[in-house]
Subunit: 508 residues, 2 copies
């Protein structure tokens, strides 16, 4: 019976976390402006209930009971694995003293306002004191979680919340390989000059953009009977079990690739969630107790690998536009009358270094991530002081992208993350990029996948990912998932090869 | 401190109930079809948590502590009133054994399916066994709640869940007066014949219907910065505190008054919720613990009084269309080119008895309610057997509306309520009608209200209702609210006068 108690306890927490996701989704899509404060109370109450249930005695007793029942179970038994995983996540969740969580939540609102003002005024000094307080608290979080997971570096604890098993040591090795591999590609891309892109800013009516983007997302496998698409300023994907997985995008009339590629990116996330094994719904294998978040993906990085694959490996491939540009032109005959599929493909792959991460191209994006990771690691280790951030930022921007930061608004103040106290999630973007190429390369070796990509049939690729990645949810670590799908560990070579091939093709 | 604990306990329950309302709203407006089962789990889990918190020891201790602290408080102290109200509602909630609640919830799905089939097949006998089980359980509910409130008749307990203080005895007296008053009006209306209404079924594009309806709702006072309008098959209003009060309507291109009047009806509900005193948010004065429902209105009947007032007393008045028909015609110049405001007013007040409650006109609607109330009271008292319902229905339909029921689908099987186990809420529709006229008559005596109605300025009416009804939320019983606003108790005379005046005007 105790195994059932454990399962029921997790199911109940999962229901609350799914509901919290709905509160968040509604707050970003549907809620009238007046609802903000009441919504914050509702979110706080439900979060506290979920936290109390996860760290409470009843669940602990149920887990002890389940552990006894499973004394004779095989080591690979999923029920044992569920217990181990719940214990590990609850230990991390419990490690952070509630007063720090409460203090950070209170500080967040003030820090966010200060950041908004500081960015508008281009005045880092005005934001620095609050950022300093936030980072001091995050150092205490790093210490607390670090103690539980036995972290070698304070940044390990921050990263582990989003990417189980990842360390600053391993990230540094990866980053070194990426820097070495990408730097010459950036130089080559700069020399090659820019493709024609005048047609990108012509007016493309938004309903037709949405219809085209959604039709392609459905062809990729996104199931609208268990999903929906809405418009938000910042696109995102969120799920309330695999049965209800929603995505958003942001369409602009005079910059149509923005909304379309964001849609495919989010649909990639959505595909992962929609294809987690049904029996994992309402279990620890579709629940993230560390972040108190209902999610089926193994980690933030593995999630990003799916979104990046459909956005970049599939959606920005030459073959994709050979196959589908005709459909796009049917939807926008006037706007694209004088454009070839080759020109269109080149335009959506335009490479040009930029100060701003969210506008970075595929080649330079990881440099932005490396910059932030190094700064975060320095802050967590106490080797970097908040007041030195603008200089540290400018120095790395020169090293990595050969750009001179014009001001703090376009430098250290550009991202919202730190004002919210988010530290440790940036690396998962680059991990996602790297893994997307590994998975894509492995998938293409599987029968039917390459042929499918060549003919515009994406079911074989989706089928491969479903079997080897998606359906496993959080029942495998990201590393196990990667090994199952690719046969090997994290490896930047396929990603660097993809980037090099793209630079070659664009230069030709 | 203990008063604070009590308040915090209710605030937490209120947050959960607001969230449950969001789960319900989303399920009826936004949720993809695949999400149904997962949503049911989420609703069940949150309902159980709210119920456990409301009936649990922690809240009981906090209430005992608060009671001690308030030992010396004045009898009218709102804090005492809050305690009394919470105690009374929790006693009713606790009275129903959880196993009955669970059994009814389980039966509901089967009974609903059986009802859908039976209605399609016009086969009451196929639904009767499940309905019988449902009613047996509801009799046990009536017994349990009846014991707590000291009910004189089993139906009292059912009605009290929706209308505190109302009894079958009082309802019967009211119904007798309505039957006596309305029967001659129905005869007169039949004799007067039907007005011109050919233009009602012309095509009216829905976006323009919505825009006109919403513009008028805003003029009535509905605040879109704390609300929104969506489309659903069955229109409703629902709130997540006064800061977020949403309404829905159902627009049909070839029956435009349907969507418009439904919108004003729901906006009337919305006005009530949006104008409950801000300090009542997250307190027992904006929380219904009997029904585990976040709502600021004093009762279902008082809520309906607001919606009916704006829909019928204001929206179907002759003056309203003298003032606003021009705007409607501006929106639909072709469709209304050959129509006068007088013709339009007559058309939206067309009186004709119908078998179907939801399509009934203003004059005959209450007869449908009386019919259902008598049957429900008979079932609860064990005086009427489920298998006798078709005959009982037909007999009353002849008595009350002089109509011969053609079949069970258009008779006893027409409403969804009983399949869900809802018993006792029908009378609140008629109570709402009656009180809407009482409140409207009283409001017109207040300075500026009649002049406002005459000039199309609805702020004075809204102001009167805000001061005398809306802002009091659930801190007054419906009876106290009615006395405050009108100076007297429930009284059908103003309603009968309004109906008679309308019949007179239409016959002229």
């Amino acid at each position: 019976m105790s195994t059932a108690d454990f399962q029921a306890g997790i199911a109940r927490i999962s229901d609350i976390l799914c509901t919290l996701n709905l509160l968040a989704w509604d707050g970003r899509t549907m809620m009238p402006p007046g609802g903000v404060d009441a919504r914050a109370e509702q979110v706080a109450t439900l979060t506290m209930i979920a936290r109390d249930l996860a760290t409470g005695d009843a669940l602990a007793r149920a887990m002890d009971g389940a552990r006894e029942k499973l004394a004779g179970a095989e080591p690979g038994d999923l029920r044992l694995r569920a217990l181990d995983q719940a214990e590990r996540e609850i230990a991390m969740l419990s490690a952070v003293p509630p007063e720090i969580t409460a203090e950070m939540a209170a500080l967040k609102t003030r820090a966010h306002s200060a950041w908004v003002e500081a960015r508008a005024d281009n005045d880092f000094a005005a934001f620095a004191p609050l950022l300093d307080r936030m980072m001091r608290m995050q150092r205490r979080v790093a210490e607390a979680i670090g103690g539980v997971i036995g972290a070698a570096h304070p940044y390990d604890a921050m990263v582990a919340q989003f990417e189980p098993g990842m360390t600053w040591d391993r990230l540094q090795a990866l980053y070194a390989a990426l820097k070495a591999g990408i730097a010459p590609l950036i130089r080559r891309a700069r020399e090659a000059g820019e493709p024609r892109h005048d047609f990108m800013t012509r007016p493309f009516p938004i309903p037709a953009q949405r219809a085209f983007g959604l039709r392609m997302a459905e062809r990729m496998g996104y199931d609208l009977s268990r999903g929906r698409l809405d418009d938000t300023v910042h696109p995102f994907e969120i799920s309330f079990t695999r049965a209800d997985v929603r995505i958003t995008s942001r369409f602009r009339e005079t910059w149509h690739p923005g909304g379309t590629f964001a849609l495919w990116h989010e649909a990639g996330h959505g595909l992962y969630e929609q294809n987690v094994a049904p029996e994992f719904s309402r279990t620890i294998f579709a629940t993230d107790l560390v972040n108190l978040y209902a999610v089926g993906g193994a980690s933030f990085g593995m999630h990003e690998a799916q979104s990046r694959m459909w956005e970049n490996r599939v959606g920005r491939s030459r073959r994709f536009w050979e196959l589908h540009f005709g459909e796009l032109r049917d939807a926008f005959p006037d706007q694209l009358a004088d454009v070839t599929h080759e020109e269109y493909w080149r335009a959506v792959n335009r490479l040009r270094p930029d100060f701003i991460r969210v506008e970075a191209d595929e080649l330079t994006y990881d440099m932005h991530i490396i910059l932030r990771s190094e700064i975060e690691a320095g802050l967590m280790a106490g080797e970097l002081d908040v007041r030195d951030l603008p200089a540290a930022w400018a120095e790395r921007m020169r090293d990595l992208l050969d750009l001179d930061v014009p001001d703090d608004a376009r430098g250290v103040l550009q991202d919202v993350h730190w004002s919210h106290g988010y530290v440790g999630s940036f690396p998962t973007y680059t991990l996602g990029n790297v893994m997307s190429s590994q998975l894509f390369a492995a998938a293409k070796q599987s029968p039917g996948v390459a042929e499918g990509l060549d003919s515009g049939d994406y079911a074989p690729l989706a089928g491969y990912l479903r079997e080897n990645v998606w359906r496993w949810g959080r029942a495998s670590t990201p590393e196990e998932t990667l090994r199952r799908a690719t046969g090997g560990p994290l490896d930047p070579a396929p990603y660097l090869a993809d980037l090099a091939a793209k630079v070659d093709a664009l230069a030709a």
